[in-house]
Amino acid sequence: MTWDVLVVGAGAAGMAAALSAREAGAASVLLADRSARLGGVLPQCLHTGFGMGIFRQELTGADYAARWAAMVGAAPIALRLDTTVLSLTPDRRALLSGRSGVEELSFHALVLAAGCREIPIGALALPGTRPAGIFTAGQAQRMVNLQGLSLGRRIVILGSGDVGLIMARQFALTGCSVEAVVEQRNHCGGLLRNYHQCIEAYGIPLLTRTTVSCIHGEGRICGVTLRQLDSGAEYVQPCDTLVTALGMIPERELLRPLGEALPPWVFLCGNCRSIHRTVDTVSRQGEAAGRDAAGWALRSREAG
């Protein structure tokens, strides 16, 4: 069979897209995600601030995801969880792989809702050693919130994006010492709300116009050199953990074999289209992409 709509990624955008594609008349919708559960990055977000736009309520990310997951579960949407979409071809076929098998399928329209990845520290190509104890903020959030792991005690956060700010608070709440949040711009990168609630309220220093210029430590990280960009002054800040919140890159590598121009049957939404600051806009964009994809699929089916 040929699926009307294949949705890659079951986070906020993908779940909304799958539901709206069904509502818009797609007869068969397949929703695939590499994680074992629905929700993408949301289940690891245990803080509130999600859902005011859509549910008129302050929810945690996990609760926000759970509401959508319940709707997806109740709808006739086929799920492939713990399953990775390996590749796409220009003739609208996809190769999926999971523990249950390798599956090759064809589809009429594709919604790419694959989210984004975090810019890793490697991209900065910093001088110094390459010790253990360096995590991206989202990775740290997943390891702490979903797996209950303890990453370190004395923490420096590089970059003041929202996930970095949220993690600063979380580290402070669990008794870690957050030595500094380091930001090269002259202002906080995250939402003002997060600055007040996560940094200011816990007395965590936000060092603007500052960056990490060297990493120290042979086995585990033992410190970073901080450089004040305006004066050029440097000093070593001891730490046993460095968390990076350097920004996000839309995850669009699957589209690479399809060429430069986006084929008309591909519909992008959520953070793999552009980086969003709140989840409600992601869900809304997912809904629109799902509708458009269903429309394309119906026309494509009629055209035979």
Partner: protein, 492 residues
Amino acid sequence: MSTELHYDVVVLGGGLLGCFAARHLTSYRLRCALVEAREDVCTGISRSNSAIVYTGCDNKPGTLKARLCVQANRSFAQLCAQLSVPFVRLGSLLVSYGPRGDQVVRRKYDQGQENGVDGLAILTGAQAAALEPGLTPGISSALLAPDTGVTDPWALCYAAYENARANGCKIYLNSPATALGREGKTWRITAGAYTLRAGAVLNCCGLEAHRVQELCAPPTVRVIPDRADYLVLDQPAGPYVRHVIFQEPEQNGKGLTLIPTTDGKLLLGPSEQPGGAAPRRAVTPEGLDFLRRTAARVAPGLELNQVIRAFGAVRPNPFSVRREGDAWVPEDKGIHSFTISTPCPGLWSLIGIKTPGLTCADALGAMLAGEAAAYVGKDRPNPDFDPCRPLPPRPRELDSAARRALVQANPAYGRVICRCEDVTEGEILDAIRRGAVTLDGVKRRVGPGLGRCQGSWCTDQVLDLLARALGVSPGEITQDGPGSPLLGGGGT
């Protein structure tokens, strides 16, 4: 107190040289062992290099280096086929932008001809530019060496290790050599918890090789390491050049090397700095600056925002030493040729084997193993020796039908853990079975964390698989051996 373990030949050091020496020892009818200080092999010099298989046109005619390099290059494809290691003969271009570089091109061409390197050609600037349109215009001449290749140095080291082990070489890990001495007709080695006796010893201890030799002999050669930095660019940058590119600068000093890797990325480097007192593999600001500056000049279209990692390497430069009072002082100029020191009968020390050490590792191993086997009088061939090392399945290299069949037989090969490099749970479990005990050990064997996200998605899953397979708590898992726990910080 442990009993003594008796072997005909013991290899000290599990880098490329040690693993290949061990591999070739198993081709004789003798008892051999490989002793490594760390928790795994391939953790020293061998872990970071340019991945280039050289032709031999850089080496002085008549030297061991030139002879081995030419010979090793010719048989490299066969070696990699036996050991299931990636190898691509991309060819290389040494590009010059002026009269000084042109002389180098000419000299290396003549040298290569004399050494017997096949297929060398001097190209005009226009011919070179046509082959490599991404390079800065103005090339004055270039040396094309079609036999230059790239390989996966980690895969090569692990393959030699696994092949040696499969052919009967005994392995002792976590066993740094602390005493080495001749007693009667044999050598007595103290290494970690073990005491070994051997008829012959091959010292392949890399940066520690001179120290190990000095356990039983006065200093002759010492290693003074240099440092080198590299930048890794993500896959879209891989095809920026089609050959390995060596840029020959007009000023004295080093040019830029661009290396398309076997996994489709692009490696820039090495820069070259003196060793100094800073940590051995630390990346230096000077090195990074050099790489960025020369890349902008030589490959102006290359987008450096595709960098996903910078890493440092060490180069073991050998220097002869002479006694001055109580101290041993190195000569001003390093030793250019491969240094194989034999200070006492039955001991061979490879001290300061640098470029083209990767290319020549198998040839050097064969040579040393042959000499040691003859020395202990056991150089009859081992009829059971199998030179081939099978590689566990690599789902990403299979077509969809074969991949489907593999996953049906073993579902772990269906679950993708590292999306960037398409590495499955099954491969990670294989890596652990093959000897990986750290995150880096898994990474170097099968690749999770080498890609554009640098492990931010998969590290915790690899951690979990390692902890379960080894039967320890995640807190005990290290990134790269003792002192590098992934979790919990320094424990203060």
